[in-house]
């Protein structure tokens, strides 16, 4: 199922090209690992989805530490590699030669040149002096063209990011984003910890994709330790993951209207979301479902009483939600703002490896739950709604259409939980040294893919977390140009990109 090709770093592009052309979904993730202690090399990993649903194809390029620290950039042939390669360059000091736009990504102007935090000989506790390097941004030139800088601190309650709009009057010519402001060094922070000790940080990569991150990490670990999750836990995980999707979608659908001042929809979305967050709290003790998914299974049971509570809440939710959507569906003023706004064409979505709602709104018919099934989804019935117009409306309607499917999945999960045995979690044995594995799940925003390499004594050697927002952020720069600045908040909200997930 899983295949790994180990090649010389200098052959990485050719090998990756061969795999890309034979895979369904192209490049899923790319990252480096400091393996000097084992092989005297840095390794650059490229993960592709294979032809079969289950497996992954990995291309591992070895860059000898005593040679030139470089590899041929994949970006000219695989555009989805662009950000991964910039990150590898920042964090490991490996240069992707031929990268069309090589500039820092994660580390800002305050970070001194020549220090690479994910190298093993970088001591995370050392005091790093502040540098004042320039941080190059992309511009547009021409008569009358001007720039509008926005952020990192925005006017509303929004996560931090810096946007640079190059404008011709009201029209956006180009958008460049400087992100990773909330970079918390999580991948480095978990190195040397046991999976158990690392887990609370994994769950806190993001607040609103916490279940999905916890699941992806757990599945990676369970895969490489041969842990089988008990039946009951499997369905409780589905329940938690779908409840996460539900409150996110409902909140996002309501919140989209905030981009155009349609307050009735915003308030009703917020009210419905509050009800769902309270349900989460009743179920897990935390409004964001934290503490439920653990490696090996789940931490809490879903009793008959709770199942009844959830089922009753869904009954109340459905008509309420339908009437909220009704406020948008035949509202010309609303449709006028969302239709044909912020288009991501199918080809761009494919090339950038866009995932989740954003991909399915641009005609990319891809959902990890169906296409790379995990955690019991292949035993459940659900449809994957796809829209093709690639605009704000399409991203909205994909979410709207996914809500009933999610409700359907929750109902199935409740039935399965009722029928399953009582065991909640299997014991996770220590992971074999130098074993590697990947885990994935489809969050409300798309696929979250985690990769783990365990070192000796069950300690994490390298952890890489690619969130759904990672491949989706660059799509925003495709969607914005040609629109007017006042539509940007709407376009941005329609992607519902997560900064914390991206920045880690």
């Amino acid at each position: 199922m899983d295949k790994t090709f180990v090649v010389k770093g200098s052959n990485l592009r050719a090998a990756a090209n061969a795999c890309a052309s034979r895979s369904r979904q192209g490049l899923l993730a790319m990252f480096a690992c400091d393996e000097r202690a084992m092989s005297g090399c840095y390794a650059v990993y490229c993960l592709f989805d294979g032809r079969q649903p289950g497996g992954l194809v990995t291309v591992k390029g070895l860059v000898p530490a005593d040679g030139p620290l470089e590899f041929p950039s994949l970006t000219p042939i695989i555009p989805a590699a662009a950000w991964y390669e910039r990150e590898i360059c920042d964090m490991f000091g490996l240069t992707p030669v031929g990268h069309p736009e090589l500039r820092p990504l994660v580390l800002h102007e305050n970070w001194p040149a020549g220090l690479y935090p994910l190298r093993k000989d970088f001591d995370p506790g050392r005091v790093v002096p502040d540098a004042g390097k320039p941080f190059p941004m992309l511009h547009a030139h021409g008569e009358g063209v001007f720039e509008v800088p926005v952020g990192p601190i925005h006017a509303g309650i929004i996560e931090p990011g810096h946007f640079r709009f190059s404008q011709a009057g009201e029209s956006i010519l180009r958008l460049d984003a400087k992100l990773f402001f909330t970079h918390r060094g999580i991948e480095k922070a978990v190195e040397g910890l046991t999976p158990d000790a690392a887990f609370p940080m994994v769950e806190r990569i993001c607040g609103v994709c916490g279940v999905s991150h916890a699941l992806s990490f757990s599945q990676a670990l369970e895969g490489l330790t041969g842990t089988v999750v008990p039946e009951r836990a499997k369905w409780i995980r589905v329940l938690a993951a779908e409840l996460e999707r539900l409150y996110n979608h409902v909140g996002d659908i309501g919140n989209l209207s905030a981009g155009m001042g349609f307050q009735v929809a915003v308030s009703n979305g917020s009210r419905l979301k509050e009800g769902l967050l309270r349900l989460n709290e009743a179920l897990t003790g935390n409004r964001y479902l934290r503490g439920m998914v653990v490696p090996g299974g789940v931490a809490m049971d879903v009793t008959a009483e709770l199942r009844g509570e959830i089922a009753a809440a869904l009954e109340r939710f459905e008509p309420d939600f339908a009437s909220l959507v009704g406020l948008m569906r035949d509202n010309d003023a609303f449709l006028d703002r969302v239709d044909t706004t912020g288009i991501v064409p199918f080809a761009a979505a494919r090339d950038l490896g866009v995932v989740g709602v954003a991909a399915r709104a641009s005609g990319v018919d891809w959902d990890m739950r169906r296409d790379k099934p995990y955690g019991g989804y292949d035993e459940l019935e659900f449809a994957v709604p796809v829209h093709r117009s690639g605009d704000v409306a399409a991203r909205l309607w994909v979410r709207v259409d996914e809500v009933p499917q999610t409700v359907r999945l929750i109902r199935q999960a409740l039935e399965r939980i009722a029928a399953a045995g009582p065991e909640l979690a299997a014991k996770v044995p220590p992971a074999p040294a130098w074993s590697t594995g990947a885990g994935w799940s489809e969050s409300a925003r798309g696929a979250n893919l985690h990769w783990l390499m365990m070192g000796e004594d069950n300690k994490i050697w390298r952890y890489f977390a690619r969130s759904a927002s990672y491949p989706n952020w660059p799509a925003l720069s495709v969607a914005a140009p040609g629109n007017i600045i006042p539509d940007f908040p709407l376009i941005n909200k329609s992607f519902e990109l997560c900064y914390a997930c991206l920045d880690r």
């Binding site: 990569i205 607040g207 009735v264 009703n268």
Partner: protein
């Protein structure tokens, strides 16, 4: 338009008193170590992912500013001596709000109308989403004379979420400087209140909010539920007494 009116009528008023929301049985609030037969085995200390538990002699102390309310200490105490209560009213005053005279002066100036600027300095975003919920119809923050504003120049209170990252240090300092005095700072959630959520030796993190700016209110939680945030705000404004 008709549908909009129908929806408004059908839903009616949903706003509730600030602490009326139910506290479910599973809710993980204040951690309470029972003294007495503690074996001083250190299991809870070892289990705590953020180093929030300290032993002093044979008693155990929990630092709720750092606590992420994960429940591990409770689960892993072999004698079952740790419990987690439903208490979420954990906000504490600090900084300027500790001095009576200054406090009275600040309350006189800001107590009836408080403008808030949110500042994410490295959060996981759950704290931020909870701030957003405060603006929803259920909590309706504006009813207390409190509202979020777009510019720090219009703000009286900075609600800071997240550990202070290296990349947001400048933004935090500049926003603080841009906020006119008298100004208050609230550290929202374990990250801002302690800075320990992602480890204490981390190249990307400088610590909690008070590592860089003076903090006047600490609101524990991960994230603090909206009622806990309201408790912190109302406490800071002197509208309620410490529970």
């Amino acid at each position: 338009m008709l549908k909009v009116l129908q929806k408004i009528m059908a839903v009616g008023t949903v706003t509730e008193a600030w602490d009326a929301g139910p506290v479910p049985e599973r809710f993980r609030g204040r951690v309470e170590p029972a003294g007495g037969s503690c074996a001083a085995c250190g299991a809870c200390i070892a289990a705590c992912p953020v180093g929030a538990i300290e032993a002093s002699g044979d008693s155990i102390k929990v630092n709720h500013r750092a606590c992420i309310f994960c429940g591990r200490c409770v689960e892993r105490c072999e004698r079952g001596l740790m419990t987690q209560t439903g208490d979420y009213k954990l906000a504490e005053l600090g900084g300027q709000l500790l001095g009576e005279a200054v406090r009275a002066e600040i309350l006189r100036t800001l107590g009836r109308s408080l403008h808030v600027r949110h500042l994410d300095v490295g959060s996981c975003n759950a704290c931020d989403f909870e701030l957003n919920q405060l603006l929803g119809p259920v909590y309706d923050l504006q009813q207390y004379g409190v509202d979020f504003v777009a510019s720090p120049r219009h703000a009286d209170l900075l609600m800071v979420t997240g550990v202070v990252t290296r990349n947001l240090t400048q933004a935090l300092l500049m926003t603080y400087e841009a906020t006119p005095a008298p100004r208050l700072v609230m550290a929202v959630g374990a990250c801002a209140a302690s800075g320990r959520t992602f480890g204490t030796s981390n190249y990307a993190v400088r610590g909690g909010a008070d590592a860089l700016v003076p903090v006047d209110v600490y609101v524990p939680g991960c994230p603090p539920r909206p009622q806990a945030l309201l408790y912190g705000i109302l406490l800071a404004l002197g509208r309620i007494e410490k529970a």
